[in-house]
Subunit: 310 residues, 2 copies
């Protein structure tokens, strides 16, 4: 088990929950991120370094004295990465390759990397999708994640790094912002809290794998504490349609609303659900929070942000 | 069939033979390369643009008026790409992504890309290796090629480019320089011609797939002229050990020599041979030149370079 972990991207939605998980396990935590958390004050006991992950000197400083790294930073999101793939490659691939070199030079032997189960496979040819599924991404985001994975495992093969790659599905929960299809639950709850209309692209039958963010943080912490290496899907292992999300949101919020149905988007594949058997077996981990519970927790949090208790 | 083809890297070893093949088929040819051919004068009827493929303006000028592109440029070789992966990513991946964007903007709908059957798969788990084999490269060269392939097929999927990716094995033949394991035949012949010792890494049982460069050029021209798209292995489809190469070289040169056996290199996988069934079927193509014939042709050429006829 590492004594001190650097969480790159530790002020983001998923990163902030990983930090919570590490602190709860008694692990010392340093965070490198571009800016403080959006929804919380800095946490006592956490060392924060604010700066750019793509700045090698900042990265060097951040790595000093840690014995494991959790890399969950990304400068892009799937839906926008194709607008400027060169920026995606520079900001994420090149920065991650530099990180690997620094890990080697500084004898830091453990890395957990948050990859993307929703984009590295492309259009699924199987259901559920296992880790060995062919990789035909249709976003730069997915191609870059896939290339980063390959550099990580080359480093492991040639230079002895011990690495876990977690291919996340769609995490949701407290502290989620509201951008794009991946953040549909957060988007819906924020819109409801603000009295805005909900939109559904297509007929609502599109199916995704949604995982509660604390379950996602749990597997990251388990991977950091494990001797295992390799690539693992990290999701709920179950599919939920957008219509089922709408129902869960109705149930959690107690509000009666009718979403506006809009024309389906060409890039939304009908269904993608991850096979999580390998992660369950290796890390003795399983998602614990049901969609109904998770959406209720998320709604409580959104309400606390929109109308603070008085 | 395209009327005019831009060959990026057309002054290189393989590129120069592709240019020959296109000219023989009556296709107009423009070449973009950093410098003129090493072993020939500029060819009549070919438009040469000397400049850097990574310079967007140079690339733009080169694309004007062509209706297909053969991309066989690389700024790195497998054995050295790991020394500076960032340069590999910048020089090859980013440049290729920029090329794709320009093709779209200029309505150039056909691309053939020379990828690498020797590096994108990594350590083979099958024999022969088919196109669907998992990709676990152990060189930056292979990772970058794999990522370029993914950007190409994303472009095809989203924007209608028609693309063929050819995963080449180890081409050899006239106009081959002499660097690294991939160029072992060229290296041996040049060394013999200069009276130098031949070296074998390990016991000579390492097996590779060697393809005569004119057979390689033939499949590139066939791919440019075909309506087919997708990824295809392009090799001999047969394995040849280093010891068999040594024998073929003895036979072709008529010289009696003893190679020096040296310690095996850790990164040399024991055997990799490509399954070329898909390319044979799709392009009605097959390698025509046997190893014995090809090595003899190569030897004739090396001799013509070392001691010009007088």
């Amino acid at each position: 088990m590492p004594k001190k972990v650097l969480v790159i991207g530790g002020c983001g939605f998923i990163g902030s929950h990983i930090v919570d998980g590490l602190l709860a396990a008694g692990t010392a935590v340093r965070v490198l991120d571009r800016r403080p958390e959006a929804f919380r004050e800095p946490l006592p006991g956490v060392e924060y370094i604010f700066g750019d992950f793509s700045d090698p000197f900042q990265l060097l400083e951040s790595l000093e004295g840690v014995d494991a790294v959790m890399h969950c930073a990304s400068t892009t999101v799937p839906s926008t990465s194709n607008i400027d793939p060169v920026a995606d490659i520079s900001g994420n691939l090149i920065s991650s390759v530099r990180l690997l070199k620094l890990l080697r030079q500084m004898n830091i032997g453990k890395l957990v990397y948050l990859s993307s189960g929703g984009t590295v496979y492309g259009v699924p040819q199987a259901d559920p999708v296992s880790e060995d599924h062919p990789q035909n991404p249709i976003s730069s985001y997915g191609i870059v994640k896939s290339a980063i994975e390959k550099y990580i495992f080359m480093e492991q093969e040639l230079h002895g790094l011990s690495a876990v790659v977690l291919r996340a599905s769609n995490p949701y929960g407290p502290r989620q912002g509201h951008t794009g299809i991946q953040g549909i639950i957060g988007t819906y709850l924020w819109k409801l809290a603000r009295g805005e209309d909900l939109e559904v692209w297509g007929d609502g039958t599109v199916v995704r794998d949604f995982i509660y963010v604390k379950d996602m943080a749990d597997i990251c912490v388990a991977a950091l504490n494990s001797e295992a290496s390799g690539v693992y899907n990290a999701g709920a292992g179950e599919g939920t349609s957008v219509n089922e999300i709408v129902e869960a949101v109705r149930h959690a919020t107690g509000r009666d609303f009718q979403p506006t149905y809009k024309v389906a988007r060409a890039y939304d594949v009908p269904r993608i659900v991850l096979d999580i058997g390998r992660a369950q077996e290796t890390f003795a981990w399983s998602p614990k929070v049901s969609l109904v519970e998770g959406v209720a927790e998320s709604w409580n949090w959104v309400q606390s942000q929109v109308a603070p208790a008085h």
